[in-house]
Amino acid sequence: MAFDVFEYAPAPESRAIVQLAPSYGLFIDGEFRESSDGKVFKTVAPASEEVLAEVAQGSAKDVDAAVRAARAAFPKWSALPGAERAKYLFRIARVLQERSRELAVLESLDNGKPIRETRDADLPQVAANFFYFAGWADKLPHAGYGPDPRPLGVAGQVIPWNFPLLMLAWKIAPALATGNTVVLKPAETTPLSALFFADICRQAELPPGVVNIVTGDGPVGAELVAHEGVDKVAFTGSTAVGKSIARTVAGTAKKLTLELGGKGANIVFDDAPIDQAVEGIVSGIYFNGGQVCCAGSRLLVQESVAEEVLDALKRRISTLRVGDPLDKNTDIGAINSAAQLARITELADAGEAEGAERWSPHCELPSSGYWFAPTVFTHVTQAHRIAREEIFGPVLSVLTFRTPDEAVAKANNTPYGLSAGVWTEKGSRILRMAQQLRAGVVWSNTFNKFDPTSPFGGYQESGYGREGGRHGLEAYLDV
């Protein structure tokens, strides 16, 4: 490999900034406590399989205690003047900024994603979300939801492992700003940053019971969303689980928002700036190792430039660095868990078996931990599983098209509808495509951009409700 000449020296971020305790309890009513039945589970670093800490496995009793604590805290919290509630959120935002390097390292350790991403994307966005929603707390009558919009009560929130702290921020910041109290269950494989956040709530002197964190596996989440004392359910995760939650809350008064899976189409026209498009394709599918619900996992490239785009794309992918998440040079970190790695492997194998052509650059993967090389499939048809199912990994399926109408038809040929990308220099075509694509977010000549002010969420089976922006308030208000 010619690249060997320019081999990078390792540039590891120090993990000394994170003080990990051997074990962590549940955060209920302002205090850490053991699980009612004393059960624990281990959380590991996916890059090395090293055990990072033991974490309490919440029980039904613990969920009940957390909901009761949130219920008890609700009257006072919701009655606080908005300006005072806002100050708590501002405080949290500030502490998040102060501790952002520590949290970035922690997140990279527990999740396996590169420090470059946690440092430059996750953590800045986490703080920005608290700043943004803090400012809404005393301006709700101006948000377009009536003169005195009321909070719902206790919000039960279940979040995924791909952006642990950022998803926490997307859930907790709007819930608190609108006067709700919260019971949040982080993902089983990434509980640590939520527990560190509990400590931040303590530093911000947030009243006990306003935020409660119950760690554990899927059944704990199911317990939480089914709990009678919960008025609002917010879930980010798989479409299958989202559907089962929708069935659980059917016939109740619980308000539900769901942010689920996707199979985003990234559409490249022949007049697109190829180099920029290639960067966009790469960030679309390899950001966070493709473990992103809005990933651009289907590349639709116009036939006349398919070869040129693919050549450039493969060249670019060959320069991506896969490895130690704490190395500042790393582009692609570890897959979050053995289970996720198995799923990606199974789907990629199905792609090959169904006749698509598989390509990965030469890259050496670490011997321990969960790893999957960046992969591109060509000769993919719409019937292939890798074109239909969410892979949630660094696997790109490439299809071609000839006309804009064909691109739209192929892009929309999915039960999902979360994201789409369009690459072309022609303005009128961008707007036409943006109009036709059935997706909650359309990135034109860019991809995977997020902002607290920008509503995010899906059409169809990608879920309902929006997070972020003025729209994001609605999910937590009785309107």
């Binding site: 929708a246 059917a250 016939g251 997706a439 034109s444």
Partner: protein, 313 residues
């Protein structure tokens, strides 16, 4: 049946919907209308050949409207889906004008609807007139929303970077609507107009006991420049029609206004299968439809789309 026979043999067909002549003394025999479904802009009978008996509030026979079947429901969804592209692609101004045209056509047939509402809901003529007038006014109100809702529900987002970022509401697609059971016309219009004004198409199941105003409304819709398939009306049992509609994979949303608590729960569970947007019925009793509707019945059937583009030179 004996009651229904008496109504017929009395020869007072004019007392049925729309008849205001008080023709009992006249020698002329009234011309009865066969009520039909409204699907894809046409007026078919139920493919099942079934009808059911609809009476006035006192039990006197009024009509034998079609008892629509599951197959009719599926046909209606196909018609509604076909109409989505044209209707959602029409300009908001155009949609607003068509809704206003519906109000105009309705106003001209006011007497007929007063008769149907009074008979079906057991209201005095004056009260029924009040409901019909309110329904006409509601079409006018929603007509005006067509080209305003995007500005109220969407807008520019000040993202922290060099990007143009705009959120706009879009229709969700095909919406199944179980109309209120009691308020058969004002209630019906109050749930139908907000669905279609934003560009959705509808499969409407009117009140099971009081379907006639809805079926007559079809005749108004058919003469108001509303494209065929935008509204499809299926008289029949909410329980029988709700199930295939809630489970249908090509329906995007369902308004359960006319479902009782148990049916509503079952349909909400079925609707989860493709994550339809669900509007639950009011918790206790049917709301008073005369109040200011606000935006609460438009927003659930809109999707927010956010478009990003870099700013540069």
């Amino acid at each position: 049946m004996s009651e229904s026979k008496s109504a017929k043999s009395g020869g007072t067909a004019g007392s049925r919907a729309g008849g205001t002549e008080g023709a009992a003394t006249s020698a002329r025999i009234g011309v009865l209308k066969t009520y039909k479904l409204f699907v894809g802009g046409k007026f078919p009978r139920s493919e099942s050949g079934r009808v059911y008996e609809v009476t006035d509030s006192k039990g006197n026979w009024l009509a034998n409207p079609p008892l629509a079947s599951r197959k009719d429901a599926r046909d209606a969804v196909v018609a509604a889906r076909k109409a989505v592209g044209g209707w959602s692609g029409a300009t908001a101004y155009n949609r607003g004008q068509i809704l206003y045209r519906i109000a105009e056509m309705l106003e001209g047939r006011r007497e007929q609807f007063i008769g149907e509402v009074a008979a079906g809901e057991g209201l005095s003529r004056a009260k029924a007139a009040g409901r019909v007038d309110a329904a006409v006014d509601r079409w006018v109100w929603y007509a005006g929303w067509a080209d305003k809702i995007a500005q109220v529900a969407g807008g520019a987002n000040p993202v922290a970077g060099p990007f143009f970022n705009l959120s706009s509401p879009e229709p969700t697609g095909v919406v199944a609507v179980l109309a209120p059971r009691r308020c058969s016309f004002l209630g019906l219009v109050s749930v139908l107009a907000p669905v279609i004004v934003t560009g959705n198409t509808a499969v409407l199941v009117p009140s099971e006991e009081r379907p006639l105003p809805a079926l007559s409304l079809s005749e108004v819709l058919a003469t108001s420049d509303l494209p065929g398939g935008v509204v499809n009306v299926l008289s029949g049992r909410a329980s029988e029609l709700g199930t295939p509609l809630a489970a249908h994979q090509d329906v995007n949303a369902i308004d359960l206004a006319g479902a009782g608590p148990e049916l509503a729960r079952d349909l909400e569970i079925a609707a989860a299968d493709n994550l339809k947007r669900v509007v639950r019925p009011a918790p206790d009793r049917e709301p008073d439809w005369r109040g200011d509707p606000g935006t609460a019945r438009m927003l659930p059937f809109l999707e927010t789309k956010t478009v990003w583009h870099p700013v540069g030179s």
